[in-house]
Symmetry: C2
Amino acid sequence: MNSKDFERKLNGYIEFIENRLDKLLEVKYPSEIYESIRYSVFAGGKRLRPVLLLASCEMFGGNLEDAADFACAVEMIHTYSLIHDDLPAMDNDDFRRGKLTCHKKFGEDLAVLAGDALLNKAYEVMVHSVILRKNAKLVKAMEYIAECSGMDGMVGGQVVDVLSEGKKINSDTLLYIHKNKTAALITAPLKAGGIIGGCLEKEINLLEKVGYNIGVAFQIKDDILDVTSTADVLGKPILSDEKNKKTTYVTMYGIEKAQCDIESFSNEALDIISCFGEKSDFLYEYIKNLITRVK
Amino acid sequence: MNSKDFERKLNGYIEFIENRLDKLLEVKYPSEIYESIRYSVFAGGKRLRPVLLLASCEMFGGNLEDAADFACAVEMIHTYSLIHDDLPAMDNDDFRRGKLTCHKKFGEDLAVLAGDALLNKAYEVMVHSVILRKNAKLVKAMEYIAECSGMDGMVGGQVVDVLSEGKKINSDTLLYIHKNKTAALITAPLKAGGIIGGCLEKEINLLEKVGYNIGVAFQIKDDILDVTSTADVLGKPILSDEKNKKTTYVTMYGIEKAQCDIESFSNEALDIISCFGEKSDFLYEYIKNLITRVK
């Protein structure tokens, strides 16, 4: 796929997601909660997770309309996790994506509620979609997303991350954190998109491996950028892991091995995704770009 | 229904719920999150919402097994809302049900995550149940619960409650708070139980009215107990509304009218529920007891 076609496709997905999110989060009473949510949802995120969901769905010949609400739901879950992660009781961050964090802008009470509201809204949106479309595959997609977002997935990873602050942890624990805190919510949209698109059971297993490898590579990249980039480029303070006394891939293995392992994990993801042949061209390019990102 | 039969039935429901919750929240890795959740879930709650769900399901001839996971899900949503409500950034309460609140016991970071984990778990449990039981009515039950728990329900009520602290509010706003913060998550289990039990569309509307009336009566009772009871009886500090500068039914109308209105709201609920005839005997008694409760 040439870079012009790739960009056109990517921008098409992103526009599709932005429009749908805008509609799903239309301001109603009480407006303050919608405003705080919209502030965080429309803060300039990459839309990584919804793009993966839509692209995975299309790779198997699925219909974007069937997948649209699920793509938005995954972005809502991702955004709620950022809002709660930034809270003073958690990472205590004042900036995200170059803007004040939700609690700095709207107060801690509204930020707690904005996170809660977004998580609940994600499920509202999915369950409405299931009822509207009467498609049993959508229920399975919801199950993948629910499992990856909870205690056996993202929240589990966050818990171990929080409990590990200031402690020496071993490589298994670090991998558990990366796998669950980050990779789970990358695996979920790939699997959900796949099942909505009509993939087979064995293909779900491949998508799971792709998600794991992208997710870990993505998190190692984050760890590297936290020490090598600047606050201006990232839109948030650098050296935040050091501030929070967190063991990262970089502190555990050094920057050279970290760089090298990003290559291995992403090559593994690329090898697997290319098994799906020509129809995986977009995802192949997209994964390649993720690894070379600068923010 | 005589009081012995009533007690037997109530205790049967409660035991059924406790056992199911215990199984659904079995401790796994990372154990800290399960322990913090179990601490709050098994803190001696009345199980009001799950009892309403099971009783509503049985009133229409439904099967308790179909409703069990939904009953637990509603209790998980209720418990997450208490954990987050008690946080320093919200009501800043140190005690609940005679025990330290979740954040006082496990720290604020784990309390935020315990709430998030419980909300997500509620949906995991419901979606698993939908897949296992292949029953389309369960999807509709999930929709009722999702709608009542989010921005158009409980979270919306909490937002207006938080924003109204220290301000003079009018009676419409107070009713909005009571209806959404409290009554929504009482209406949801009645409707969810009803649909799982096989009730008709028009009966859902009646259940909604019952929920609204019980919910508002229940909240007025809470407002009264906050000024007339003792911390020992309630298991939490009294005069908390005054501390948080909240307008309550009591501060707005005085205690006499508040008492009187509890009667009106609960009589309305009792009148409607008795339309369902003999099979509503348990719910009739249960609602009556709710209003005369002392904690």
